[in-house]
């Protein structure tokens, strides 16, 4: 980090490698498109690099970067209305080796349903859920990343969870009907 702040561009490659996966997955869950997520994640790193002089080294780098990535992704969604997405192919979960093929198939289907239900939510809810439950951030970190007050984050998350449950229930009902 010190090398980056000293202006060594090569040191930034290490940060890209370390945080790339998380930034890409945040962008992916918000935009719902792999190509858009790739673009937003790259844009987030470029913006972060240009704004490194504004970064306070006393604070953790991750939440600061996630905020940039979240903004880039939400801007993308706002500009291109990319919230209507198809469910992408999920990679194999790590426990797969211990499960039988049938259980694995059921599990993949369930996860695909969750991803699809999440993709139907408003972008702000998707962002809050992603940061909180998929990136494991605290309430305060989510608030910092989204640039909204702590109370609003809690309200957003409460409503997002309720909406997600409702969508999942509707999808399950629709499939069984």
């Amino acid at each position: 980090m010190k090398a980056c702040l000293a202006g060594h561009a090569d040191a930034y490659a290490t940060l890209v490698e370390r945080y790339g996966g998380r930034v890409f997955n945040i962008a992916l869950r918000i935009t719902g498109e792999a190509h858009a997520a790739n673009d937003c994640a790259q844009e987030a790193f470029i913006r972060a690099y240009r704004a490194l002089h504004q970064y306070d080294p006393a604070l953790p780098f991750g939440p600061w970067l996630y905020r940039i990535a979240t903004n880039a992704s939400l801007n993308y969604v706002q500009r291109w209305r990319a919230h209507e997405t198809t469910v992408e192919e999920l990679p194999d979960p790590p426990e797969e080796a211990e499960e039988g093929p049938e259980a694995t198939a059921v599990r993949r289907e369930e996860l695909a349903e969750v991803v699809a239900a999440m993709a139907e939510l408003p972008a702000a809810y998707r962002a809050a859920l992603t940061l909180r439950h998929m990136q494991q951030l605290s309430y305060q970190e989510v608030a910092d990343a989204l640039g909204i007050p702590l109370g609003t984050v809690k309200t957003h998350l409460h409503r997002a969870r309720a909406a997600l449950k409702a969508r999942l229930a509707a999808r399950t009902k629709g499939r069984s009907a």
Partner: protein, 132 residues
């Protein structure tokens, strides 16, 4: 489940947390780091282009402004001569232009080209693959 959870996770959040944290992360696209670093390096180019354009343009503009202030009457006479010659069938339009002014105009032209390149190239890179 990933095994990690936020320290301030509330009991009411646990079911959804358990559900969402089982969604496996997608792998990073191949060549992601190199693409980012390439764009980081490319960003430096327009900055230099703007600096060089400024260095070329500002003295030229200052000189041309000076010329216009001190020899503006000659400029308007020369312009009138050219317009009159263009309106009539005559090919005799007299005007005088010194070498320094030509050099200043040439440098201004080069600066404009650099500035145009910097302003066109940077947004094209910024748009990235999704916009193409």
């Amino acid at each position: 489940m990933s095994g990690y959870s936020p320290d301030d996770l509330e009991p009411a959040e646990r079911p959804v947390h358990r559900l969402l944290s089982t969604i496996p992360p997608q792998p990073l696209p191949l060549g992601f780091r190199d693409a980012v670093m390439r764009r980081v390096m490319e960003r430096a180019a327009p900055t230099w282009e703007w600096i060089v354009a400024g260095v070329l343009a500002l003295p030229s503009l200052a000189f041309l402004a000076f010329q216009l202030v001190w020899h503006g009457d000659e400029f308007s006479v020369a312009l009138n001569n050219v317009v009159s010659a263009a309106a009539a069938d005559s090919a005799e339009a007299f005007f005088f232009i010194d070498g320094t002014t030509v050099l200043a105009l040439a440098l201004l032209g080069v600066a404009s080209l650099l500035a145009t390149h910097a302003s066109v190239a940077a947004p094209a890179r910024r748009r990235g693959p999704a916009a193409r």
